[in-house]
């Protein structure tokens, strides 16, 4: 069917990724390119009947970012991890090797105060559960790693919203040490809207491994 109302100039794409779509009978308009990783979906409430949206239905995980850890680095700052697209995020970290057995201190943005938390940790050689609590610290202790690595998972609740961020952490190190595994919960005493986080080993350096950031689809 011929388009009679729109002219070539009025529907000319302005940028890479823009789409020319039908907006009414014999009419067309330009739909600007969406956010990276977003997909096109139908929405009868928009002018074009289409919109860009995060993939997956409510509750689905969408990979936001993958970051490889470099060689002998004293900290890793992951930027553009959080945005208004999702309320909550899950971060997985597979540590490869480290210069010494130590543990991770996690910070959000430039905040270096006001971290409160508690939880517990254990040693695989003992059934003893060690309680842990801390208040108004410069960072969050999120778990150990040994020289041959370890795995951590962090769940960030509302890091980019104007409310206090809560972080749930789980960790396991490949070594029989106290703190080999931990389950800890933190909150940050500020309503700063964060877009990045940093992991810093308490001592030594990190070499290799992968950090993945997933957004939890709101709806």
């Amino acid at each position: 069917m011929a388009i009679t109302k729109a002219t070539a100039s009025s529907v000319a794409p302005a940028a890479k990724g823009d789409l020319v779509v039908g907006s009414a009978t014999n009419d067309a308009s330009v739909l600007a390119v969406g956010t990276d990783t977003h997909v096109l979906t139908a929405d009868s409430t928009t002018a074009t009947g289409l919109k860009w949206a995060a993939t997956g239905s409510a509750g689905a995980l969408v990979l936001v970012k993958t970051q490889t850890i470099g060689t002998t680095v004293a900290s890793v700052n992951v930027t553009s991890a959080f945005s208004s697209t999702y309320d909550n995020y899950i971060v997985t970290i597979d540590f490869n090797t480290t210069s010494t057995q130590s543990y991770i201190k996690l910070t959000l943005g430039a905040t270096a105060t006001g971290y409160y938390g508690n939880g517990f940790y254990m040693n695989p050689s003992s059934a003893t559960v060690h309680a842990y609590n801390t208040s108004n610290q410069t960072s969050m202790f999120t778990g150990y790693f040994s020289t041959d690595g370890g795995n951590h998972i962090y769940k960030f609740m509302a890091p980019n919203k104007a409310k206090k961020t809560v972080v749930f952490t789980e960790s396991s190190a490949f070594e029989s040490i106290t703190g080999n595994m931990s389950y800890l919960t933190y909150w940050v005493d500020t309503t700063t809207q964060y877009t990045d986080f940093t992991i810093t080993p308490n001592s030594g350096t990190l070499t290799g491994g992968t950090i993945r950031v997933y957004g939890l689809v709101n709806s």
């Binding site: 970051q67 490889t68 850890i69 470099g70 060689t71 002998t72 680095v73 004293a74 900290s75 890793v76 700052n77 992951v78 930027t79 543990y103 201190k105 910070t107 430039a110 270096a112 940790y121 003893t128 060690h130 309680a131 842990y132 801390t134 610290q137 410069t138 960072s139 202790f141 106290t178 703190g179 810093t200 308490n202 001592s203 350096t205």
Partner: protein, 60 residues
């Protein structure tokens, strides 16, 4: 000291080094663990001194 920002690995400047040192300066988790273990052992010793058996202590 090298730090990583996304894919960039750079030599940390004075401000960045000071920030990392501040993060690392908070009370050591190892010290906290040791302190808790010392407290536990001290309490255990007091219970033994009171005449409790291992089974009685375990049942507490």
């Amino acid at each position: 000291m090298k730090i990583q920002i996304d894919d960039q690995i750079i030599e940390a400047n004075e401000e960045q080094i000071a920030h990392i040192e501040k993060i690392r300066l908070q009370p050591s988790i190892d010290d906290q663990i040791a302190a808790r273990e010392a407290t536990r052992k001290s309490a255990l010793a007091k219970l033994v001194a009171l005449g409790l058996t291992e089974d009685e202590i375990a049942a507490l």
